[in-house]
Symmetry: C2
């Protein structure tokens, strides 16, 4: 059903379904007693096939949590039957003992599902540096296995069990007219930055697709979605995005169709991350045009996105474009101050190196802020999403260990 002019339009993503939206998947979310709060803290997502193709992308941080090291290893086979995720502890900086804990977790899941541990990915999120309570975790796996279901409620429970400082679960699902769909959940509210946020995300699809194609599609998608959200420059030790394909729809989409739906779902998940970021009062998009190349556009946009003086000005609803110009200039990208232009919420305040309007003409009273930076040097373009730096961000990150 692809049109001659490109991929067929998929259904717009909806947020009432997630990983159990595509056929062939079951999920569960239970309270295993890992979190002190007693809330849901263990999620299980199971691919019942017939296919088992899978792919993953992981944090670029050199300090990698044990579950990242484990999941990177098992994904070399591009095949997964299950993903087990826990909140309440990151299992990072825990040495070989922490890696053994991850291995034991995968073994436990493998045992209850009757599969090999090499088919089980593990994700953890929470405080760095503490061992996980393995007895509670293993008992939780048994409970979760019994509660596995393909319902929307089960998918939502899984999305809820991975939350840390998130205020609500985040999921997205989009169906293609050809009869296949993509669904997923994501968690993450702080330590959100370049090359993926403190973020765990599991995406499922019932499309028929092989592991290599899935891997390529995932990398292309994350580069322009997850990688372009930058809340605070932090890159977690645990960042993981996994995609599992069951093939249960029996439909093999074109790579273009699949990429379009995957990107729609990933983009919707990332938008939800932005909207629920720690302390957010402004949802800011920073678009850079006319850069010498796309990499330069991303570099400029991220430098502005991470700049505390820009972020505090925006929290104060102050269109202080001078701070944006400062951040543009200190980026490692090529910039010519005499060609530089800056517009905020549609008002050009600075153009070709000259003030173009009084800053008061830009209205920043709303929640959404759109910044467009024009470099006038080439064709490179990119948009990065970020949030402001508010009192609530400071409060949340100074008052609690997370």
């Amino acid at each position: 059903m692809s049109t001659e002019n490109g991929p067929a339009p998929a259904q717009r993503p909806t947020r009432d379904r997630g990983v159990t939206g595509p056929k062939g998947f079951k999920a569960a979310g239970v309270a295993a007693g890992i979190k002190e709060s007693g809330g849901l803290d263990l999620a299980l997502v199971v691919n019942e096939g017939p296919g088992q193709a899978a792919a993953g992308v992981f944090t670029t941080n050199q300090v990698k949590a044990a579950p990242v090291l484990w999941s990177q290893q098992v994904l070399q086979e591009r095949k997964l039957t299950a993903v087990v995720l826990n909140s309440g502890g990151a299992n990072a900086c825990t040495g070989p003992e922490g890696f053994q804990d991850t291995h034991a977790t995968a073994e436990k899941v493998a045992e209850v599902l009757g599969v090999g541990a090499i088919e089980v990915a593990v994700c953890s999120t929470g405080l760095i540096g503490e061992r996980l309570p393995m007895d509670a975790l293993k008992a939780g796996v048994e409970v979760a296995a019994k509660e596995l279901a393909g319902t929307d409620q089960a998918g939502l429970a899984a999305a809820t069990a991975v939350m840390t400082t998130d205020t609500h679960p985040k999921q997205s699902w989009a169906a293609h007219p050809d009869g296949w769909s993509v669904g997923g959940f994501v968690k993450g509210a702080g330590m959100l930055a370049p090359n993926m946020a403190t973020m765990l995300s599991v995406i499922t699809t019932d499309a028929v697709i092989d592991g290599d194609t899935l891997d390529q599609a995932l990398r292309a998608t994350t580069a322009r979605t997850y990688d372009r959200l930058d809340v605070d420059g932090g890159t977690s030790t645990n960042d993981t995005v996994l995609v599992l394909a069951s093939g249960a729809s029996g439909v093999a989409p074109t790579p273009g169709d699949f990429a379009a739906v995957l990107t729609a779902v990933a983009g919707d998940l990332v938008k939800q991350l932005q909207g629920d970021a720690e302390g957010v009062t402004k949802e800011i998009s920073i678009t850079v045009t006319g850069a010498a190349c796309e990499d330069d556009a991303v570099t400029v946009a991220k430098t502005v996105a991470e700049d505390n003086l820009v972020k505090t000005a925006l929290f104060g609803s102050d269109p202080n474009w001078g701070r944006i110009a400062m951040a543009v200039g200190r980026s490692q990208a090529t910039v010519d101050q005499h060609r530089l232009g800056i517009a905020i919420n549609g008002v050009t305040l600075f153009e070709d190196g000259h003030k173009a309007a009084d800053r008061g003409e830009a209205d920043l009273s709303g929640r959404d802020v759109a910044i467009v930076i024009t470099l006038n040097l080439g064709e490179g373009e990119a948009t990065v999403l970020t949030t402001d730096l508010s009192h609530a961000y400071v409060e949340e990150n100074s008052a609690y260990s997370s």
Copy 2:
């Protein structure tokens, strides 16, 4: 009076004298009406010789303010008679008209002093993007020229006139037993970062020294003092450090002696910047040892210094070393998580990739926090100074345009 084992010990820097401490210098600080507050906003420092050697280092930001472009140009001669500085406006992003304003300022100083404009450096600080009120500024230059004096009060007035969000003037002076001295002032409280803070600093000396030697000494000193303060990652459009040598002591120190005293004064000025940084409640030193090289040590220390999750944890007096490990790992330096160690205020919390003590054992209740990060990879070492990210920082930078 150098000893056989190295430079003679100079007097410890004192803060009751500044640019007029060394012989051959006069200064003034006046209220020219540039600042809306009506406070002191124009400073003049004049070198009466007999020597006129000078050197400067400037912002690495690609967006450079007009006074930076001007001063870089005139300093090619390594000779200065005067420096004129204003607060109340950065004269950045003001196009060719802004550059003409700077030129006219230098011409005005040259006229009242009877020298050439090429001997006059100009520094500006304040809001980016607005033209300066040139009539007020030129009239201020005339008043300042009449008030020039070699007294401590005149030096203090000059140090006061460059303040923006600084809460107090910052100066330092140190004398060498051989009969020469180095003095200076500095301003800067935010936009303080790598490769120099939003900072203006003028340093004077009555040592007999040529321009090239002065330039080398200044670059070596700033690399290990000004460049190693990183409050918020911001690199201003206006950063400038100038050093002027009058030769009025008649004493030519050894390069080693001169560098030692210059570094002592610069280090004392930087310590004052740290202590008066916007919103500071903690004065933090981050020492990295065992890096593969010194550059790697600086990279790791700055990545930790700029990390908002680390900075907010420290504001909350929380020894959250996991966030430090995260920041170390996301730096561009070579890191091995299995060799990594972290100590806070003398307590080793993480060692060789393992938790070494409960975080509660580190006491962060005081104002000073010393973080030592051990990479165990080589001999590279560096210390970077920073501050915490507090509610007051957010308040100061969101409530006012600066």
